[in-house]
Symmetry: C2
């Protein structure tokens, strides 16, 4: 048993993915290759590819044989980030030389499109049904979720169920696909593949909730972006939803005033209000629920080291 239980730890897998990207990533277009390499060099925890590789090993496969598949998961994520940056550039580089902004936007839109196309070109050539279908359906879900999120901006009455549905589409769908495809290619049977997809989806929802929480509790240096950024963008995150649900009219009026005036110096007071109204505690409780669901989803999976690593990654969302 020990001999085939050859899983690396999740940290080893991160290093494996990094080396793979540095050694092999290249497309036919040098400008786009460079843009993508810059994004990859900017770092990241590589959670999606790690989950793909762990899912493959959890079903008896070997991580080393599925590095390309794992890399495509990260690259789908990178392509969506490149397109997110188009919008961010438009918002934050205002006033700067307009031609540079336009040229940047053009290349960013095209680089993201090219990367999606390049991934699908490789996946349709090298992977059996349903892998190409899962990946394209996942990208559709991500975009669908992002549009739903845009429509929910500034909505103080967003139901928790709708929040979870948006998180499921824009964030959890790619974790679900990463686990599902890893399990499929790792030789998992139908039960194992469904269990790992279910695991990925619950993990991804908890991951998004943790991300919402960190935006309010971590400092700018560890986030890599200003704290309270979600509030600046009027995103209806779960700490805010929970605080509004339990809070009184005064807190609601305070948030409404902040949205109306866009006064960023009011953010610390809003965060204090969210904590006072129980929004952070309620978010931690919800994360706990989805962490438990993710772990339960793994019940049909055999007790290999990879399963233990998946559980460890999941429990880390509660820290």
């Amino acid at each position: 048993m020990r001999a085939i239980d050859s899983v690396r730890t999740a940290d080893d897998l991160q290093a494996l993915v990094e080396r793979f990207f540095r050694a092999t990533f290249s497309t036919d277009n040098p400008v786009i290759t460079e843009a993508v390499k810059r994004m990859l060099a900017a770092g990241g925890k590589r959670l999606r590819p790690r989950i793909t590789l762990l899912a493959a090993e959890a079903c008896g496969g070997k991580a080393i044989e599925h590095l390309h598949l794992a890399a495509y998961m990260e690259l789908i994520h990178v392509a969506t980030l490149i397109h997110d940056d188009v919008v961010d550039n438009a918002a934050t580089r205002r006033g700067v030389n307009a031609t540079a902004v336009d040229y940047g936007n053009r290349v960013s839109v095209l680089a993201g499109d090219y990367l999606f196309a390049w991934i699908f070109k490789n996946v349709t050539l090298n992977y059996p049904h349903p892998i190409p279908n899962v990946l394209s359906a996942t990208l559709a879900d991500i975009c669908d979720g992002e549009v739903l999120q845009l429509q929910a901006l500034g909505n103080l009455d967003l139901p928790l169920d709708t929040y979870v549905e948006i998180a499921r589409k824009k964030t959890a769908s790619l974790f679900a696909a990463s686990a599902q495809c890893g399990a499929t290619m790792g030789g998992g049977n139908a039960t194992e593949v469904a269990a790992l997809r279910d695991f990925g989806e619950c993990f991804g929802i908890a991951f998004q909730m943790k991300d919402d929480l960190l935006d309010m509790t971590a400092d700018e240096r560890s986030l890599g972006k200003p704290a309270g950024n979600d509030l600046t963008e009027r995103k209806t995150t779960i700490p805010l939803i929970a605080a509004l649900a339990s809070g009184g009219g005064r807190f609601r009026a305070q948030v409404r005033r902040f949205y109306d005036t866009a006064a960023n110096d009011a953010i610390p007071a809003i965060v204090d209000g969210i904590e006072r109204e129980g929004g952070l505690a309620a978010t931690r409780a919800q994360i706990g629920r989805f962490v438990e669901r993710a772990k339960s989803a793994l019940e049909p999976i055999a007790a290999r080291a990879a399963k233990r690593e998946l559980i460890r990654l999941t429990e880390a969302l509660q820290s």
Copy 2:
């Protein structure tokens, strides 16, 4: 023979495609469905789907059975136009309410991404190899060609070969894929499929050259955009390349000055210069060459009505 030779004319096929879009087009996201429907309602000659259907019929298939496939070809084109508009919005709506511009850009980027993903999701589910691979490789070519075109902006020394390579990627690849996929699904053998792909590529290059020519010779109303727009954007089009190749240093200096000063009132003089230096005549000659190559490519195809329609569409590029 006459009984199976049941092809509609290309104009009938355009109406068929239009009715199909109006009756059936819908995605799971209402905002994106609406954005795409607006683009479809803005018109278009539907050349790509018409070529798909004609290629299917040229190989003995029935157009009516391949409307979905044909529609995907137009929708890939629409998705690339939606992303082109992101850039155009950024350039032309400057000074307008910034939030509206940002919101517009966000939805445009996401709508284009979603449409690509939605097409691939359907194609990977419903079409055999190599159709999904051809379509994703085509999208990669289109983006690659557009990046190459961006890099060539303002380049007065662009070789004609490089121009043709850019046109092949950004424009002709989708015509080639439209013809190839129509032929494949219409039951064409390997020779017929290769012949129709070759036809589509030559047609597409001639189409791009004609587009360049019209930008200088047609009026704003028939173009749906300002005449001389390519010059404003510093695109190195074939009439300009040909005029620079045969023209003297004075003409080159005039174009360089125009690029340096961005004085749009100089455009009529530049167009006059291009005509005087033989750029329009040389472009017409190059269109004629690719029209002949497109027609030659059809030689292995049986003499059905669909083949005659493809030839008619091709010869129309010379008018």
